[in-house]
Amino acid sequence: MLSRVADSLYWMSRYMERAEHTTRLLDVNMNLMLDESGTSADHRWQRMLIALGSPADVVWEGDPYALTDSLSFDTDVPASILSCIIAARENSRHVREQISSEQWHRLNTLYLQVTRPEARRVDRSEPSDFLQQVMEGVHQFQGVSDSTMSHGEGWQFIQVGRYIERASATALLLEAYHDDLWMMHERIFEGTEYLEWMGLLRSATAFEAYCKVYTADVTPDRVLEFLLLDENFPHSVRFSIDTLQCALQAIEGGSGRARAEPLRRLSGRLQASLHYASVEEILRGDVVGYLREIQMQCRRIHRTMYELYIDYSIQTALAG
């Protein structure tokens, strides 16, 4: 497969995942506003910005609707939902021949829905229709990708993009909540604080899944354990890294490269550390440090994968 094609598929997928994540955080936080809470609105929205990686050009100025509007529609903000969908579609345009027509159709429809001028003109205080539409569009795209595209090398790059984005976003989300929640893990959470926990879980679509495992009895160590280490939940960091590792192995097998050793070592080590970690151990140690290490490893995997498959120098390629 051409490196350029792999690159476009990877980014198409990453941008879609990113759009979904931003959408969900906005939706959850808009929803939280409806209830009284121990934490102030200022604090919650600023925390959300941290969870989104503190996007440049976006500042909290006290108006949640203005913030939501700019994180949804502002094309000058690279992190906005619109920017992500446009970037995903642009990448897919370059590889239209490689993806299925259903994928293209789904993504293009979503693009047309969100870029038409009326999308933005609807009442700014009611953004949830728009957010819902994006969420559904992204889910349909992912479903169609899995069910209509051949699960060959190209699809594996889509997997890599989706899960590397998801693993780092979840780790960053947990980091953003750290000060509020795990710093005070001696306390018992009730009432308004319970809403915060729900908010965190729902930010990773994890609330229902969590309840199935632990019941509605929400405690800080369990939330961390679930979002970080759960084996079966598709938004947990461990699940994401497992899937990522799987996809990388498939790519390595398919393209027959002996030089994949550094990449295999990186992703394997991260996978193993998540497999054999326990939440008690993590909580006893430096939680933020642990979460940051995961994000750093993800970046390193991204870089190493690029050097291996996409952006390699001619000299190394000819030597290998």
Partner: protein
């Protein structure tokens, strides 16, 4: 203008069908159908009203859904359009085709010999058959090609020649496209849609197939592979998704099963071209390039190009990669050079040209120039470097201001223009609304020249869909039809 026969006119389908001095593909005269159009005519007349429109819409939807679109430049929105498709097939008889085929084979053979000659010994220039300054002043002349050995001496491997039919029914050549001719994907998809929309009509004729084109193209490209590369890696080089013909590039690559690459996918090392894949670098042997000379290698040609591959020309010169078409072929389809093609055919093949040219005035000749300037309202003036119907003056339809503008332009740079009489080329029936009306058509057959010459029986018939219009280019309101060559 005289109306068609009253009997025919009675038919609801033909209310606006007029015949005049231009050749009509369907009617030999009022009340006189060409026999090979009889079944088409009967079929269209027998369909219930509305049915034709319904089928036409089905065809258009099918194009849109398949993403068979092109991009129009310079309208700001850079929107994607479908190439309008006309349901009525254009039919060419076996005898007519036999002559066209012989003529095109003769022409491409001579043009390849001409290119070899001017880039090597230059015999034709020494013998004064073609003026030396015409060759060297052509902006498509590539001095880098001088003295270069070209695989199999094939400069033009893929050619699309524009033919028109004159009032007497003879096909003549309007233009040779020897650089990167496009449109062949429409020829192929038109046929596919036609078979689906009007299957009974299609099977009532013995239409020669064209579907083998992509295989022949692949064979032609393979025959150009460098020595010692028995399993050549053939790629199609496209300028990318923003190019107006991107659909065609993707379509042909997919049909041939070769990789569709862009300049940034290719790298040069030690005069060898590689493509970047996830499995490492892979050597490239033959490039079917759809990028113009100017943009293809920033080291050899335009240095501001970001579409090309640095070092491609050197790799080509070293014989490590073949290109179709070769560099510098544009010198032979220059609109001024066109006037000399009959002489070129005679010079190299000692045969009379089978297909004639349209009378062309070379404006560097003072006498012709004077004549043209005085008769701008009767002539068509074309800029030699432009294609796609841009930079043209159609005398009878022009305003005084436009004529004045072209007069200035011609006097300032006579080498850059040619003039031709306004030709009323043939018209074919088209479905306009619910009726058949005649519209001007041309024909672009595709010629492949590798280890042998292949002319696929058919081509792209382009239609000037506006009433009275003579411009068939897709960018200027043209459409197309399926073209049937009968066996």
């Amino acid at each position: 203008m005289q109306p068609a026969a009253p009997e025919r006119l009675d038919h609801a389908l033909l209310k606006n069908y007029v015949l005049d001095h231009a050749f009509d593909e369907m009617f030999a005269g009022p009340d006189d159908l060409h026999p090979h159009y009889e079944p088409v005519f009967n079929r269209f007349c027998s369909l219930p009203p509305g049915e034709l429109q319904r089928r036409k819409q089905a065809a258009e939807l099918s194009f849109l859904n398949q993403g068979i679109t092109f991009t129009v430049y310079g309208r700001g929105d850079r929107s994607e359009h479908i190439f309008p498709y006309d349901l009525v097939p254009r039919i060419i008889t076996a005898d007519e085709w036999a002559k066209v085929e012989r003529g095109l084979t003769q022409r491409i053979t001579a043009l390849n010999m001409f290119l070899k000659d001017i880039y090597n010994e230059g015999r034709i220039l020494k013998d004064g058959v073609v003026p030396r300054e015409l060759v060297y002043s052509c902006k498509h002349f590539r001095r880098q090609m001088v003295g270069l050995q070209v695989p199999r001496n094939v400069y033009v491997a893929i050619c699309g020649t524009d033919l028109i039919r004159m009032e007497d029914g003879e096909f003549v050549v309007l233009e040779d496209n020897l650089r990167v001719p496009s449109g062949v994907s429409y020829m192929l998809t038109n046929r596919r849609v036609m078979k689906r929309i009007l299957p009974q009509l299609f099977s009532a004729y013995n239409v020669r197939p064209i579907e083998q084109y992509t295989q022949l193209l692949l064979g032609t490209l393979r025959s150009l592979a460098p020595e010692g590369r028995p399993e050549p890696n053939i790629v199609l080089l496209s300028p990318g998704v923003f190019n107006s013909a991107y659909f065609e590039h993707a379509y042909l690559a997919r049909q041939m099963g070769i990789e569709l690459v862009e300049g940034r996918d290719l790298v040069t090392h030690d005069n060898v071209i590689y493509m970047r894949t996830t499995g490492g670098l892979r050597r490239v042997d033959v490039i079917y390039r759809r990028v113009d000379d100017d943009f293809i290698d920033p080291m050899a040609f335009r240095s501001d190009s970001i579409l090309g591959v640095s070092g491609l020309f050197n790799a080509y010169r070293a014989g490590n990669v073949s290109l179709a078409n070769a560099f510098g072929t544009g010198v032979a389809d220059d609109k001024a050079m066109y006037a000399y093609v009959p002489d070129i055919v005679k010079y190299y093949l000692s045969e009379d040209p089978i297909l004639q040219n349209v009378k062309t005035y070379i404006l560097t000749e003072p006498k012709s120039r004077q004549h043209v300037i005085e008769n701008l309202d009767k002539l068509v003036v074309k800029s030699v470097g432009e294609s796609g119907g841009y930079g043209m003056l159609i005398g009878p339809k022009s305003t005084a201001a436009q004529r004045a503008e072209f007069r200035e332009k011609i006097l300032a740079d006579p080498r850059n223009f040619i003039a031709q009489p306004t030709i009323s080329f043939s018209r074919a029936p088209c479905l306009i609304g619910d009726e058949l009306e005649p519209r001007h058509v041309d024909l672009r057959p595709y010629i492949l020249y590798g280890d042998k010459v292949n002319v696929v029986p058919g081509g792209l018939t382009r239609v000037a869909l506006e009433r009275g219009s003579l411009v068939v280019n897709s960018s200027q309101g043209g459409g197309s039809k399926d073209t049937w060559v009968l066996s």
